[in-house]
């Protein structure tokens, strides 16, 4: 290819610009350019479904620090290590990911390196930009990190992590309105409107469900509530349960938790209004009982898909013109997961949903779309310019090469944390102290969990049901 092109100076100039920008500071792998992240992750997810977490880690591979997907790689690795019950390694991966995210956040407002990255994204695609970790993924990071600390018997460390998760959610709430508005304004400036986008882009309503925004994660709030309760800070626990119930008001266990703490803390006004919403509350703990909380991770979250669209872009000199775009999308409808049943001595407990990751991911994508499309408009126009230039300078060969390059490199950025569970459920029950056996019913199969219930204390069980794999971890808080 190089032999053909440098006949003309302009061509050589364009080629050298591409080469230099592509070999910028934040390195990336060439496979990223032509193979989407979703298909790269397929074998990893297949191994994860079979419970072969070490194999999945090997398939995942490693990315060098400075690689544009380094953070994402750390997140995937940390999650797989967590599933493999390697708390220390998982803690290390997540801690490194946190450092990277913090560094990203602390960077200057105008970054020169970012400019180069965007420049190379203009001639290739979004996969070469460094991965921005969405807020919901950050809150999941801290949740798993908190569990890592817990399973190493460090409640103080776990509490630090849930505080960090809360900071992330507060930050997200503040940034949210401003960012969405700004992005839409910029999109309009680029010669495209959100209306024309939504005329061609599939509505993700069925993939999203009914979440209000892409960052408020009730699972994180609930976990933080449990940990605060375990450390005796009931007031903090109450606040977090209340935040969680704003997101999942129909969750039966959450309702009971909020009522119980409102009664215990003597919040009479709150208790009255809560009882109106959720029914009468009756205190029922006796001395010789302990609480068992089960967190149930179901399946693996879907990856983003690549979708090709022809959308009109308004150019000031040549009117409306159609360009082909490649955009990420969640097309699958929200997966339905069956409720798990936990049985202990004639009593049955059904699991209740506390977070749907695909909802958050798809909603987050929807919020990112205007900004994404703005970059895309700049890119397709620039690529078209390049093709015209090459066809003028290097004739048919240049035209064909440029067209091939444009088609091959037009690939949506399908990166997202893909080893996360699709849904997390909770079950909370009061059991008599001592050794207990819980029978779990899952898709017609039965599994026994042995727990050592301590009086007046919380026992946490993390139960994973991923594909054909089921496993659990217990800890007394």
């Amino acid at each position: 290819m190089i032999n053909f092109l440098p006949k003309r100076p302009v061509v050589s100039f364009v080629v050298s610009i591409i080469i230099t920008t592509l070999s910028g500071c934040a390195s990336f792998e060439l496979t990223d350019l032509f193979q989407g992240y979703n298909s790269q992750m397929k074998p990893v997810k297949a191994a994860q479904r079979q419970g072969e977490f070490v194999k999945a880690q090997n398939l995942l591979g490693e990315r060098a620090q400075g690689n544009n997907s380094y953070v994402l790689n750390l997140l995937e690795r940390g999650r797989l290590e967590f599933l493999a019950a390697d708390w220390q390694a998982s803690q290390k991966s997540f801690a490194q990911a946190y450092v990277e995210i913090e560094e990203q956040g602390n960077k200057a407002k105008i970054q020169i390196s970012k400019g180069f990255e965007n420049l190379s994204a203009v001639v290739s695609n979004d996969n070469v930009t460094s991965y921005q970790v969405p807020y919901y993924e950050q809150s999941m990071l801290h949740s798993y990190q908190a569990l890592n600390y817990l399973f190493q018997h460090d409640l103080v460390g776990a509490l630090v992590e849930v505080r960090r998760a809360n900071l992330v959610q507060e930050k997200a709430l503040k940034a949210y309105k401003n960012e969405v508005y700004q992005a839409q304004k910029e999109l309009n400036n680029s010669g495209m409107t959100t209306d024309s986008l939504y005329s061609g882009y599939p509505s993700m309503a069925s993939a999203i469900g009914k979440v209000k925004n892409g960052f408020q994660n009730a699972f994180t709030f609930y976990l933080s509530g449990i940990l605060y309760e375990a450390s005796g800070e009931l007031n903090d626990a109450y606040i977090d349960y209340k935040r969680a119930i704003e997101i999942y008001p129909e969750n039966h266990y959450l309702q009971q938790d909020v009522l119980r703490l409102a009664a215990k803390l003597g919040m009479q006004d709150d208790l009255a209004s809560l009882q109106q919403r959720f029914g009468k509350y009756q205190a029922q703990t006796s001395k010789e009982q302990g609480q068992v909380v089960v967190l149930i991770e179901q399946d693996i979250v879907n990856s983003k898909q690549d979708i090709g669209l022809n959308l009109p872009v308004g150019r000031s000199n040549s009117g409306l013109k159609f360009f082909s775009f490649s955009l990420p999308v969640y097309q699958e409808t929200l997966p339905k997961h069956s409720k798990l049943t936990f049985k202990n001595q004639d009593q049955s407990y059904f699991s209740n949903e506390i977070v749907g990751i695909q909802s958050l991911a798809a909603k987050d994508l929807q919020e990112q779309l205007p900004a994404l499309l703005t970059r895309q408009v700049v890119r397709v126009v620039a690529k078209e310019k390049m093709r015209q230039k090459l066809s003028r300078e290097a004739g048919d060969v240049g035209n064909i090469l440029a067209s091939i390059y444009n088609i091959a490199s037009e690939r949506a950025d399908t990166r997202s944390w893909s080893t996360l569970p699709d849904q997390v459920d909770i079950v909370r029950m009061n059991l008599p102290a001592g050794k207990q056996v819980l029978q779990v019913q899952l898709n017609g199969q039965q599994k026994n969990i042995e727990v050592d219930v301590q009086p007046n204390r919380i026992t946490l069980i993390n139960f994973s049901a991923i594909g054909s794999y089921t496993g659990y971890q217990t800890i007394n808080l």
Binding site: S16, T20, N106, I110, S113
Partner: protein, 200 residues
């Protein structure tokens, strides 16, 4: 035109090459120098907190009367970390107890080493290698009269332009027998960081 292209390419390559390269340098520094690598809890905060707390404790009139004719025995309970950072609070209590010991006004028992001491005493008595006359006796340790405890909390705020972190460190001295809090003090630290507007 050809030359221009060549020069631009060379220039760009140089920019990238220099942007990525960095060379490691090792040197010694002053351990008490002000450290501002980032906004998180650092060595300067630790030193500041420990120094202010011990000064305040040693200079307080209540403690003056306590230590007039005796060297009270204290033990340090763990500091509660209520911040959003993984801070080694034992390191802070270590600094404080070391400073207090150095003042010569207090004595300490170390709860963290009870097991090690028990092991050593067991060895002296049952190991068969130590002369029983020189072996330290069981049940002769001195009980602590005072407990030192506290917590470290923080408020973190940040927006696009700056981040702000506020630490509050509270320390209290309790008379174990009467349950009275004989002394308490707090130290505050505020750090802000303005983001640079242009950077690499």
């Amino acid at each position: 035109m050809n030359k221009l292209a060549l020069v631009t390419t060379l220039g760009l390559t140089l920019v990238f090459a220099t942007g990525c390269a960095n060379k490691a340098v090792v040197r010694y520094g002053d351990a008490t120098a002000v450290e501002t690598t980032d906004i998180n809890f650092g060595s300067t905060d630790l030193q500041k907190v420990a120094a202010q707390m011990t000064d305040s404790l040693l200079l307080s009139p209540v403690v003056g009367t306590l230590t007039q004719n005796a060297r009270p025995v204290m033990f340090v309970e763990r500091l509660k970390n209520k911040t959003s950072e993984h801070i080694d609070t034992e390191s802070i209590t270590d600094s404080i107890s070391t400073k207090l010991l150095r003042s010569g006004k207090f004595r300490f028992v170390d709860m963290g080493r009870v097991e090690a001491a028990r092991e050593q005493l067991n060895f002296q008595h049952d190991g068969g290698m130590v002369d029983p006359n020189t072996a330290s006796q069981f049940g002769r340790q001195i009980g602590a009269q005072y407990m030192l405890y506290g917590n470290l909390s923080s408020i973190v705020k940040s927006n696009q332009d700056k981040s702000d972190v506020y630490y509050k460190f509270t320390l209290r001295l309790m008379d174990l027998e009467s349950g009275l809090v004989e002394w308490a003090d707090e130290t505050e630290i505020r750090k802000t960081k303005a983001k640079e507007s242009v950077g690499w």
